[in-house]
Symmetry: C2
Subunit: 137 residues, 2 copies
């Protein structure tokens, strides 16, 4: 496949936004977590509900994520693939994270992430996130 | 948000491809399921594995899906949102599906779907799919 189809300037800007967002999650910095998100974001998160719509509902998914421990939670990209045009882009990734362990500690958890973005008035804006783990066997 | 940012011609073509793909799933038509997919597709499916890469691995996820019953399995959009530029697009949706029930029948299952596409040589091609259900509570 011709990798030159991509839009290199867009890809670099989006990589910076997504890596900055993950760094904000690691330091529990809500303003920085939310700063590139659309008011209309549609979020499919790892735990229920099935679907969260709007920035307030999106923020609540992070309240839940941060609620289970006061310790730092890993949130690190194993890989990140970005496909971008001038106005629309998507990215997908696998990340190392953690979930509550049986001893009250942390148990390693890998999850999958897909992000949809639009360039609105020159700013790349996240309009969709999909976080998941495979269903239990 | 200015909905005119979207690319109406692209959106109509993509809607036709995605709805055609879902119809192909409902009739277990492998050639039609696979016909708009990239050889390099990266699939995050509902059951394990965490990640499937390439068309052969993608096909295997459908072997697994179709293996649990000979009866028709619902695969119907509740909603479908498409965001498209000239060369890159993503779509997300919620669907009605089914899983094996305790009595050997079907139990209704809603799942979330995100699709990433590229326009390659004038043909919209699916390069990424992410299917999931929320993790068990």
């Amino acid at each position: 496949m011709d990798e030159k189809v991509g839009h290199a300037g867009s890809e670099a800007a989006i990589r910076e936004i997504i890596e900055g967002w993950a760094a904000a999650v690691r330091r529990r910095d809500y303003p920085a977590i939310l700063q590139n998100h659309s008011p209309d974001i549609v979020m499919f998160d790892v735990p229920p509900p099935l679907r969260s719509e709007g920035l307030e509902a999106y923020k609540k998914t992070w309240d839940l994520f941060f609620s289970w421990t006061d310790r730092p939670i890993p949130f690190d990209f194993i890989d990140l693939t970005i496909t971008a045009d001038e106005h629309v882009a998507f990215a997908f990734a696998t990340l190392n994270c953690a979930e509550p362990g049986p001893d009250g500690g942390q148990k390693p958890l890998k999850f999958r992430l897909t992000i949809g973005l639009r360039n609105i008035g020159g700013c790349w804006t996240i309009t969709h996130e999909h976080h998941s783990v495979p269903a239990a066997e």
